[in-house]
Symmetry: C2
Subunit: 290 residues, 2 copies
DNA sequence: TAATTACCATAGATAGAATCTATGTCTGTT
DNA sequence: AACAGACATAGATTCTATCTATGGTAATTA
């Protein structure tokens, strides 16, 4: 016997009509039904809402109070209904987009400003982490969309390729007199968490190339910066190099191994298609990212 | 199939548990019941709230939205419930007090300041009109309480005497040389709508006393003021005279008819006894009004 | 691969409500 | 005194919310 929104509507009609019988007619129910519905509300609120009279009913002080408050509550409910409808069908709401920080630098700029400008009620929360972690979080519903490098295949995952990249060994073009990144015996700069770096190092080892020292960083931007300063040889994606240091860095050698990266949009295959999610996906796919 | 507040509570529990079966246990209902309750909500809102999964359920974007909004709505409802409880049991709310304007001047001051100071959430709306009109409006539920003169008897009306008054003919004590209210042939000042004035004039006519000219006003204060200025003979209640002009006015003669007024508190016998109404009644009755 | 487990959905039965019809009660009116 | 108009009450009925039992699916384990 919980109060539902019909009961409140009933109450308001009775209050306005001041007559249960006539209110019942208007509402298309019988007088006894309406009488018990009102009694139900009174029990639930613990207060009499009407004085029963020969000529009809009159609101008690509590009844007058609840007339205002009930109207507000009903309005609140209708507002929520329409808001949820909008969230479902219009382009609005909060969506979480996961993306590796370096990948963010050359992808987000292509669609995010326009997307957010076009849809002022749309909110995007960016989460930055390793592609692997992002993908896991997409699979586990913690993140709505991911822009990631070389996603693992997963039956629940939709993978849409966006562009390619090449990870290889780089050194600075014009070594300064003091700092000489000699290929042999050079210092290696890389993010050891990246699969790409791990694979490339292994391949090089098979070719009997070893690096005596290793500088590890979780930021590819930092790695690129250090490489361009002549600190050593960096394992860097081409697109990161191109971002700020295109003129200062060159690939070490054509013989050295490379790793092909695929930058992809990923989202769960059962992802709820709202107006906003469809728009986000289509905007991300629309661009070519060179 | 209208949404009730239990459904919303159910939804919140499921959202927090992310598992219909376990949420059902917590809520003390079965899993299928909860499944259909959720479906009911989804139908009513026109949006899927959860993605069903092997490992449980996950909120959709609309579901996340409704989790916030539903919590707010539930809070709104609980707030209303407690507010109505307060309106019923505590001393607060809006109450309409009807009172003749002149009677107001020597009654309200005795209890109203203290009453409103003691109960900051209590609101009193004053309505001023003839006692007869006030009483009618109390009977017809338009006014909660009346402080009126000589109320008509009515089966629905509770009448509590507060104090007495005497309406008689007054003239100014020291007539100025220019303005002489000679008893015979004098000007009569009165509110013709008052039963008291009508009755006194009739009685005087039977005693063969007639007034050639008549000044009518609906304000007893104005009548008293004019009488005190020597304009003529006023039909005035003693308490109004005492208010500001006690020293300037005297009764015309002991032989002339007088009218006994009873000032009473009135309210409907079926009036809903809330905490506030009980307090208002007791405060009004507590005073002696001299 | 097959069995098991942990989910949610569905179907049919059941119990609890809300509603309906019919009647009762009260009061003011004719 | 009969009637009319209002709400309350009682019992029957119809809905519907919930329950039990079962089915389907995917991950996990033997």
């Amino acid at each position: 016997m919980s109060v539902n929104f019909f009961d409140i509507t009933y109450f308001i009609e009775v209050a306005e009509t001041a007559n249960i019988s006539r209110a019942a007619e208007k509402l298309g129910i019988t007088q006894p039904s309406l009488s018990t519905a009102i009694k139900r509300l009174e029990t639930e609120l613990g207060a009499p809402l009407f004085l029963r009279n020969r000529s009809g009913v009159i609101l008690t002080p509590s009844g007058k109070d609840f007339l205002n408050k009930g109207r507000q509550l009903l309005q609140h409910w209708h507002h929520i209904q329409s808001e949820i409808y909008k969230t479902e069908h219009e382009i609005r709401g909060r969506y979480i987009l996961g993306c590796h920080p370096s990948v963010s630098l050359y992808t987000l700029g292509h669609f995010l400003p326009e997307l957010l400008q076009t849809h002022p009620d749309l909110e995007i929360v960016l989460e930055h982490d390793l592609s692997r972690k992002i993908t896991e979080q997409v699979i586990s519903h913690q993140i709505d969309f991911g822009i990631v490098v070389n996603p693992v295949l997963h039956s629940d995952l939709v993978v849409k390729p966006l562009c390619n990249d090449t990870v290889r060994f780089w050194r600075c073009k014009k070594p300064s007199p003091t700092q000489m990144p000699e290929t042999a015996n050079a210092l290696l700069i890389a993010d050891p968490h990246l699969t790409q770096a791990q694979t490339l190092i292994k391949k090089l080892r098979k070719a009997k190339v070893e690096f005596p020292r290793f500088v590890s960083t979780s930021s590819l931007e930092v790695a690129t910066e250090l490489t361009s300063k002549g600190l050593g040889i960096g394992i860097l994606p081409e697109r990161v190099v191109r971002q700020y240091h295109a003129k200062e860095l060159v690939p070490v050698s054509d013989d050295w191994p490379i790793y092909q990266d695929k930058i992809c949009l990923v989202y769960r295959s059962d992802y709820q298609k709202t107006g906003a999610s469809k728009e986000i996906i289509s905007r991300i796919l629309k661009h070519k990212y060179q």
